[in-house]
């Protein structure tokens, strides 16, 4: 079981330049925990003081925003991609 977490360019200064990391996480929450355990400096950029995912950061599981799934509890399966995308674009 392996999934990947894809890191946008702006975050890569916290991941020693890595564009993605592999993880054996079973849920989105575990995947984010793997990311922040491996690169602690990214932690406060992913979660706010209350431990919630930051308001301006969207997390996708493959093509879908996790808020349309089970949020951070969304289960992962082999080959899934978790994407972090800043919420910046708009009409």
């Amino acid at each position: 079981m392996a999934i990947t977490i894809e890191i946008p360019t702006a975050f890569r200064r916290f991941t020693e330049g890595a564009p993605k990391i592999d993880s054996g996480a079973l849920t989105v929450a575990e995947a984010l925990n793997d990311l922040t355990a491996k690169y602690p400096a990214i932690s406060r950029h992913v979660r706010d003081e209350q431990g919630q995912i930051r308001q301006f950061l969207n997390v996708y599981l493959n093509e879908e925003d996790i808020r349309f799934l089970d949020g951070e509890s969304s289960p992962l399966k082999d080959g899934d991609r978790v994407l972090l995308v800043p919420s910046i674009a708009g009409g």
Binding site: P8, T9, Q55, R67, V85, A89, G90, G91
Partner: protein
Amino acid sequence: MKEIHYLRCRECGKKFANGPLSFCEECFAPLEVSYDYEALRRLANRDALRDRAFNMWRYSEFLPLPDGFVPTHAIGGTPLVKSRKFGERVGVKNLYFKNDAVCFPTLSFKDRVVATALVAARRFGFDTIGCSSTGNLANAVAAQGTQQGFETCVFVPADLEPVKILNSAVYGARIIRINGNYDHVNRLCTQIADKFRWGLVNVNLRPYYAEGSKTHGFEIAEQLGWELPDNVVVPMAGGSLIGKIAKAFCELAHLGWVEPKQVKFFGAQATGCSPIADGVKRNLPRFQPQKPNTIARSLAIGNPADGPFALRLIRESGGWAEDLSDPEIIDSIKLLAETEGIFGETAGGVTAGVAAKLIEQGRIGRDETTVVCITGNGLKTTDAIAADFPVQDAIEPRLEAFESLLEQHLQSNTSAQTEETHA
């Protein structure tokens, strides 16, 4: 002369030098253009406007433009229409429609934002520009981008109205249709801007793009005789325009061009895509994203990037938000056309209808001055109302044929009236 504008984080306040950046590297919140307001106060002079043409560039000092910038097109400068019949119908005296349905060159307020975005694109050395769009923005980017010699590429949801796709293609822009809704298109464009050196007006040029919207607000204040209205009703898609009208009013008050006033901001959405209105009505700390399903495609953004700011502004200003169902949108488009002679797009129907609803609810006072923002032209969304206007049978070019038709009309009107009387 020293440049007086810079980028600033909307959440943590960190300052950044001008560049194609749209979010804060500390907290990832959006950046916006800010100004040295003391310097602006010295530079900008209301009396100087007398010698300037009535278009968006008359407020140049308030926009992120380089020194010596010379505008090429008279964008903006749209009418503020004092309502008579619509206002009468809903029982208010001082109702106005700010009519960007006739904005030059592509008949929506997006012409304003693209104008400032392309100045930034030129400045930052981009050859290729583009956008993610629900249609109006694509039209504006296509028209101004190709005309100014940029390689122009617009990304749109595959199910967009054919007219809006045609209205971009005609300028020679490349159209990329995406299988997905606007939020999917947006996500893809964020990734493209991350990987390619392209200037995407509403992604990496977004702070400069959004500033263009302020001119809609400046014009409202000036057209009201340098006074602020009591209420503004604004359509919300990404949630940017409402905040920029507020910013424009604040800047004018700060410089003493208008008397300060607590303007109430009201947001309008379609029921089929109403994440911000839903957040206001249910008093949520954060809006919930939605999957759009509405004929008001130009407002069909289920995950609005400026939603948190719009939510905050509406609450803090004492305003409210409402939404309108698809059948109500169509009725409202017709009412606006019949009463004011303004053919707004579906979003215009949303905004006019929401204004009527808010007046009925008593949230907008009947003696107050209210401006309703119409941001796009009905000629672009004819699909949405075509079924309500079936093509009539033709008659022969003879007077008798006409008289016979007239007779039929009179009879059907009389019987309709009789039915109404009995109903």
